[in-house]
Amino acid sequence: MTAKIRVFVPRDSAALAVGADEVAQALQAAAGEAIELVRNGSRGLFWLEPLVEVQTPAGRVAYGPVSPEDVPGLLAAGLLQGGEHALRQGVTEQIPYLALQERLTFRRMGVTDPLSLADYEAHEGWAGLRRALAMDSAGIIHELTHSGLRGRGGAAFPAGIKWKTVAHAQAAQKYIVCNADEGDSGTYSDRMTMEGDPYVLIEGMTIAALAVGATQGYLYVRSEYPHAVATLNEALARAKAAGFIGDSVLGSGHAFHLHVRMGAGAYVCGEETALLESLEGRRGIVRAKPPLPALKGLFGQPTVINNVITFASAPIILARGAQFYRDYGVGRSHGTLPFQLAGNIRHGGLVEKAFGLTLRELVYGFGGGTASGRPIKAIQVGGPLGSYVPEDKWDVPLDYEAYAAFGGVVGHGGIVVHDDTANLARLARYAMDFCALESCGKCTPCRIGSTRGVEVIDRITAGGPQQPQQVKLLRDLCDTMLHGSLCAMGGMTPYPVLSALNHYPQDFGLSVPDAPQAEATQVTQAA
């Protein structure tokens, strides 16, 4: 009997959402005897999902987007040998979208079976943890600090400094908390990681635990991600059974117990202190800082709280050394960011690249322009609390400082494209409305300001002689929210609002462009 041919059909939610399970069933039914079906993560080329890959002597060959009805034709065309077909995309790794990326954190994404410990190990898995186990706390933190890694959740705070603060804190119990409350529209890299490469996150959190002396960890995952929760729970069980976490990490004597907790649909719980409140079993209300979570975090104890991608970046930094990672990027933005192309875009997907490329390269070079075929009007970068970036800024290099300089936000790397049918006044109103819906209510500028913001925008778009005063009022209101809010929810809602007003005044019914005004430039601690 000849060896079975390996065929890959992703299990990522975004593949399931366009019929990957049905394609897998059709393949299994038609060619079950000849194939070994692997449910891998997604390569992140979402316009090609469901993307079926076949292992051939020339490498893995991709076909997509495949529907169950395509399966008989594909098999007849020699799918299992990598045969020619209209849906054939060539050798996967040579697809330009993928070949042009610099995948470090996502190097296993779509390549492996997410839950296979053997696959993980065979693709550099646990190498970072093994190296960390041979180092002391200061050594691990030095590597992380020297790598230049900054918090990938949006605030871009140097991860090494946070870890060092927790390491130096004296306490009987310390915690590692992963902020996996990825609530921003246009972002999905956390979800992909949890569903497509969960062990890298577990490894990263375990490295953090060793670095700071923590024995307990929590993954706080939003309730909108049930597949991610299920995958993580299974991965944790397998990692524990194999001794990578638990009472003695790889037999080292260091204990690290990791638990998954589910959020409950509150956007503001992406803010780190609200998340900690939620984990403790309360309403997700933002805490005043100081004290910093690094000193008084979960249950009042020193806590490292980082985003999924921050933790997931630690293993490669430890495995290959800080300098390797640091050499990617520009200025003070070291390493790579998994940019997420979303919204009205032809080739939506995940693009991991070193900092320093431009929005134009991303949305045209990779993204291929809009899905609708119409001109791009505005691009929101950095999530719902990020600015709408007009065309004259599309050639600014994507790095934290260059974006901050013009009032933009790189944030978590989410990029939402809107075509010329978008109305930016409506989107600005939506930003205020969303803030009103999701505000935790603790501070007045956010709680009340957002509701007043909706009203003022309505009065502006209604036109009439009051318009100039109302525009002034909106700017004053945004100024108050920006400087007076306790966290990024109220503090950054002015970013999309003011950028819409400044760059698209015609959408607000302003006949004369409003006088040039400063953008929102305050740096607020984002989640």
């Binding site: 909108e224 409950a264 079993g281 309360r282």
Partner: protein
């Protein structure tokens, strides 16, 4: 906390008698009250099993966690995910966030309201025959394939209006 949120359980919600519902709450309390920060895990367990968190169960949870009833009620009402009354037999979530808006989510939402016979509310609504509860959701993480919806525990992306009709058609039949 091992069961992911499965709206399928909602299908049996209105069939559970009040007394049996309280037993389910007590069971969740017994299983989970020992956890640090146990309130959310307990509420999730109850809602996964019953489809909602009955108000009559609040004192049981409060007692076990040494909280006031007001504190427990406050948590249930704070989080969008938790509900205090049974939903329809099926739950349809339509994403209304920016990425999906750029691909017609507002039209899809309006269509969903009229197609399912649900009131257009920011807090969601159940239709007259209680076959479907329609909820807005702010991001399902499928933003490269907008617009996205979820029907019970299954997600769907690139959802056109005809595709939406196709997906919800089975929900309103008698057997649904």
């Amino acid at each position: 906390m091992s069961t992911p949120h499965a709206s399928d359980s909602a299908a049996t919600a209105d069939a559970v008698a009040p007394k049996a519902a309280l037993q389910i709450v007590q069971q969740a309390v017994d299983e989970l009250a020992h956890l640090p920060g146990a309130l959310l895990p307990i509420l999730h367990a109850v809602q996964d099993r019953l489809g909602y968190v009955p108000e009559a169960g609040v004192p049981l949870v409060a007692e076990a966690l040494n909280l006031s009833r007001a504190e427990v009620h406050g948590v249930i009402s704070y989080y969008h995910h938790f509900r205090s009354s049974p939903p329809g037999r099926h739950v349809v979530q339509v994403c209304r966030a920016e990425s999906c808006q750029s691909r017609g989510a507002e039209a899809l939402w309006a269509h969903a309201c009229s197609r399912l016979g649900c009131a257009d509310s920011d807090h969601g609504a159940t239709n007259a025959d209680a076959s479907v509860t329609l909820l807005p959701v702010y991001c399902l993480g499928l933003c490269a394939s907008s617009p996205a919806i979820a029907v019970d525990d299954r997600v769907h992306a690139r959802v056109s209006l005809p595709r939406f009709d196709q997906l919800v058609a089975p929900l309103q039949t008698q057997e649904a």
